[in-house]
């Protein structure tokens, strides 16, 4: 049984201007201890997908059209709220993009970490441990994410910490419940590149050490390549290609994935001229029929306009959703 299995998940947003068909049949799975990267550009739905794992999309306006998200065999979408609370943080933890917004500026780090730890225990119905015990566990967690002088940090406020340190604190809070799956949504996008390297190294270390499964979402293919063994490329609400990172970088088969890789400027090879992808992302209120990428695709043919291609395995552990990709 996979740790996480997303089956034909479709999600829509009912807004004032109309219905946005944000996710259109996502099929993904993740085993325990595996690292999966989800890469895509604006409007592909990757963040919405990540938040769906913990039912964080506000419904309304979000509306599950169909599908299931099975975590350890249970369908997250139909769990009662109480069971959901046990899941959040305890089994599945999330880290987001902007560390400053996810920390309360008025409370000390110590208070917030204790709240996180305490929240986990309360969800399991455990009795409240003394303050000192919570405090020392918080200090341990801060040390485990590579933060020096944990005691001093516990007494600090978020504004006294740098961006990188704040993100480490959030990762520490995420680990408070000893989760089996860590979902990181653009965890380093708001950080400087040298700090990004530190945080990526930290995440890689924690994943290896604790056997965590990791789902890392980013628009930056380099970040995903560095941290994940497998990658899924998303476009306009669908997974268009899924393969091991090495396979995808060496041999992308979907025209969008190819375009995406060709668009990234190469620092070490200035002769490689990045190419853009013509056209623009579709309007999700009236998405293109058939394959959602067909209006921008050089290979588009009649079948592409009428039938949506399913994610087919064209090589071992390499799936592509394209009518023109043959094994």
């Amino acid at each position: 049984m996979s740790l996480l299995e997303i089956r034909d998940y479709r999600l829509a947003f009912d807004t004032f201007d109309g219905t946005l068909h944000v996710l259109d049949g996502i099929d993904l799975s993740l085993e325990a201890g595996e690292t999966l990267g989800i890469v895509g550009e604006t409007g592909c739905g990757k963040s919405v997908l990540a938040r769906s794992l913990l039912r964080l999309n506000e419904a309304p306006p979000a509306r599950v059209v169909s599908g299931a998200i099975l975590f350890e065999g249970q369908d997250v979408l139909s769990l009662p709220e109480k069971a959901m609370r046990r899941l959040r943080g305890r089994r599945i933890a999330m880290v987001f993009q902007d560390p400053a917004s996810y920390l309360n500026p008025l409370l000390t780090i110590g208070t917030q970490m204790e709240d996180a730890i305490r929240g986990q225990e309360a969800a399991l119905g455990q009795a409240r441990r003394p303050h000192r015990a919570l405090r020392s566990q918080a200090a341990e967690l801060l040390a485990s994410v590579g933060l020096a002088e944990p005691q001093r940090l516990l007494a600090s406020h978020p504004h006294q910490l740098s961006g990188g340190m704040r993100q480490r604190v959030l990762i520490a809070m995420a680990l408070a419940g000893s989760p089996t799956l860590l979902v990181a949504d653009e965890p380093t996008t708001a950080l400087d590149v040298t700090v990004q390297a530190q945080v990526l190294a930290l995440i890689a270390g924690l994943v290896a050490e604790r056997g965590l499964a990791l789902m890392l979402i980013s628009h930056d293919l380099g970040v995903v390549a560095a941290s994940c063994a497998r990658v899924a490329v998303m476009y306009a609400g669908t997974v268009v290609e899924e393969a091991s990172t090495a396979q995808l970088l060496a041999n992308p088969r979907h025209p969008y994935a190819q375009g995406l890789i060709a668009a990234v400027p190469d620092l070490d090879n200035p002769a490689h001229k990045p190419r853009g992808i013509p056209g623009s992302i579709p309007n999700l209120m009236t998405p293109p029929t058939g394959c959602r990428f067909h209006p921008r695709c050089a290979l588009a043919s009649e079948i592409c306009c009428s039938t949506k291609p399913a994610l087919r395995e064209i090589a071992p552990a390499h799936g592509v959703a394209c009518h023109h990709a043959t094994p």
Partner: protein
Amino acid sequence: MTVPLLDATGLVKTYALPRTAFQPARRLTAVAHVDLSLARGATLGLVGESGCGKSTLARLLLRLTPPSAGRIVFDDQDITNLAEASLRPLRRRLQLVHQNPSAALDPRLTAAAAVAEPLVVQRLARGTELSDRVAQLFAEVGLGPEFLRRYPHELSGGQKQRVCIARALAPEPQLLVLDEPTSALDVSVQAQILDMLAELRARRGLTYLFISHNLAVVRQVCAEVAVMYLGRIVEQGSAEQVLGAPRHPYTQALLASVPRLTAGAVPPATPSEPPNPAALPSGCTFHPRCRRAELSCHTGNPPPLVEGLACPPVALSICQTRA
């Protein structure tokens, strides 16, 4: 030797930090002793991380804020201490493209009105001539006439940035400062915008000051690069040399930190983080994080830029290897 288009010497910008009951008044040095020179038609990339002062430097060069010390000469005219009224005619020749196109457009103005603004304000065109010029500018940045009447919230990120670029080109500038122009855009759109910028530069004979934290983009766009750290230029030279064979330990760390498109290659991490700009380390400000730091790096003044490198230990070893 031709006169550079823009020549700045000894630029310093400090800010007074608000005084609290517990601390004496402190000053934050955003830019410290920067010399910068831009030849006509040059493309200079300014790279660095947050807090390095690159945006402040850009605003000093555009005279959006006066320098605390130093001199700025634009096209042979000293603009260091000019009053706002005298600067106004100059603003035609110096333009800026912002990082965040959504925030750089007045949400209540149509795209056409936004692009027309510099022309109206500088009294460069009116009536039908104005609308013709605006239409031409739209075509030049690849936007069809249907975009003229759209509002910013009806445009995609790439389209908004094209509008901003059209607006910057309207008064026919000589120098364009681009502050992270593609950071907020998807990578597939970025390539189109960068191509367009290159084409515009060639066609109009523009000079670019390109600010970015994205080294790969800078490598693609710029012929010269200056690396900033905590308000100072630590390395400067041709793009090939600075980004291909960097000498300064900070530049080397920056380059090594960028994740490459290679599976499983976690970039090496540089220790600790940039210090608080209001409480800088003594000596070379990079020394706490530097693998090559020697005793002399901890004390005295920060090293000056010598032959494009502000790192005496490295300069010395290069001299020694040459000798």
